[in-house]
Amino acid sequence: MTNATRQALVGYIFISPFILGFLLWQFIPMVTSAWMAFQDWNMISAPHFVFLDNFSTIFHDELFWQSLKVTAVYSLISVPIGLVLSFCAALLLNTKVSGIGIFRTFYYLPVVVPSVAGALLWAWMLNTEFGLVNLVLRSVGLPKVHWLIDPNLALLSLIMVSLWSSIGGAMVIFLAGLQGVDNMYYEAAEMDGAGYWAKLWYVTIPLVSPVIFFNLIMGIIGSFQVFSAGYLITGGGPNNATLFYVLHIYRVGFMYLKMGQASALAWVLFVIVMSLVALIFRYFSRSVYHEAKTA
């Protein structure tokens, strides 16, 4: 055995757990899922090939379009607002006021709360009669709001919950990005007479744009996978107003045992998310600032 082959062999031994895992728990499931998307199968009787029937069934299903709409609206609202709020929070937390350490901890705390505990807590927080949110509204003389009962509000309520639990994560990443900006850029901008907002717009935002880009991508991918809030807080209701796409897949697959249709739904989701990510990479990655690497 030559030195080079031995080296390659050792290398592949080291990364073999990943390769095997990728094949076993990602590649094979993907292939299985692609095969299943063309089968009519309830896991009890034998599967039989139906070609595109599953896709035509799901596209003719009102609930598919409803769940797609719910998820798209959720993503369109929660991702941009989440980005802006976490960025603003990071800007505030990057200042040197007293007690900043405690503030940072407080802002991050909701992230570590288990999603189930958080969801059930908010189901109680948004209770029309006894939840904290309406108690506060009532104490300042405002009428109570039917957060989870009103079909027009339920989705917004869940967006609120998701903002509470997710802002902290993106915020910490932004904060690290802000702290990584070399002070010399600010000094140079100040020499040119830039004020706070000019520095923010012309220095800070361009320099942390890779971080914004990362948070945007991760935010979008995450927003299309949201499940537990809809499952636990509203159960998809009222009137399917919070029927998230993944909740729809879950019901089709695990409640009605239509494994073929569920796989077809999963592939549609996969294609949508990957196309979105590709589009964003294509149109935004050029406007992202890349620091010249010296290595």
């Binding site: 299985t32 407080f106 705390l109 189930v116 059930l120 927080m125 996978q225 998310v273």
Partner: protein
């Protein structure tokens, strides 16, 4: 002020004017900064209250009696506090069994993830071989894969293997790589270590496996701690997996056990549900406060260089 300026003007002392001007500017500047700081502080406080208030409501609800949560006006500090709710949580449902189950899965996951991800990361970070960079791109790619699309085929595969209603679906896959995020994080860490360490060991006749185990693994303790903390958090909080792969309530983890406290809208004992939620949240909060450094490190390392 104006009088003084006129005075200095008439005195014709250019330097004094300049000094005065700079003093005035900085005074205005200081005042603006002071207001700016006050504004920042007020905004921070408002945000912090919004972030923290749910925790307060969680705790006060968990200390009320069955009907106390429905009383108006609400008692913000329950009198008397019903600490027995926290005992009830363990009587009504076998919460200690859920905790034990979760801890079992967590320990297995820690072993699997710490070994597998550091092992793979060593290969990616410290060895040169054809195809390495392509595989590393695949690692990064799988981080963006919406994992939820795999839930249907995974269920089919696990039921074919006869793994449904066992802990195998939670444990076995973690031995294979231990998660792309962890591999990525440890690869980044290993890359920062000097090559001379490995070279010296190679001259002494160490092979790559002992270099990994004896030199790099001990040096990676802080990064491994980060991985360990996140692994525990993921396992403790996992809900989707148990929902799909476990049927027997005695086998539930804490997250699934917690959902059992939720009855219908009127049957739910919110006080007990909140007590159970506190019980589930306390361990992760403790972990967070003890290991805050590793949390931040992990997020920053995976987030910034991604």
């Amino acid at each position: 002020m104006t009088v003084r300026r006129e005075n200095t003007n008439s005195g014709g002392d250019a330097i004094a004017i300049e000094e005065l001007a700079s003093v005035r500017v900085s005074k205005k500047y200081v005042a603006r900064r002071k207001w700016g700081r006050a504004l920042v502080w007020a905004l921070l406080l408002l945000g912090a209250i919004i972030m923290i208030a749910p925790f307060g409501f969680l705790v006060t609800s968990s200390l009320k009696d069955q009907m106390g949560v429905f009383r108006y006006p609400p008692q913000w500090i329950p009198n008397p506090p019903h600490f027995q709710n926290y005992i009830q949580v363990f009587i009504i449902k076998p919460f200690h069994i859920y905790i034990r189950n979760t801890l079992f899965i967590a320990i297995m996951n820690e072993i699997a993830v710490l070994w597998a991800s550091s092992f793979c990361a060593y290969g990616f970070a410290r060895l040169r071989f054809p195809g390495r960079d392509i595989w590393f791109k695949i690692v990064l790619g799988t981080m963006m894969l919406p994992g939820i699309v795999l839930m249907v085929p995974m269920f089919v595969i696990f039921s074919r293997l006869g793994w449904i209603d066992t802990y195998l679906p939670f444990i076995v896959p973690t031995f294979f790589g231990g998660g792309a995020f962890n591999i990525f994080l440890l690869t980044q860490f290993f890359r920062t270590l000097p090559e001379e360490l490995a070279d010296a060991a190679r001259i002494d006749g160490c092979n790559e496996f002992s270099i990994y185990a004896r030199i790099f693994l001990p040096l990676a303790k802080p990064a491994l701690a980060t991985v360990a903390v996140f692994t525990f958090l993921t396992t403790w909080n996992d809900f989707m997996g148990p929902l799909l792969f476990l049927n027997t309530p005695e086998k539930y983890n804490v997250a699934m056990g917690l959902t059992l406290f939720r009855g219908g809208l009127m049957q739910t004992s919110w006080n007990l549900l909140m007590a159970a939620a506190v019980t589930m949240t306390i361990p992760v909060l403790l972990l967070f406060f003890l290991a805050q450094r590793y949390f931040v490190q992990g997020i920053v390392m995976t987030g910034l260089r991604g």
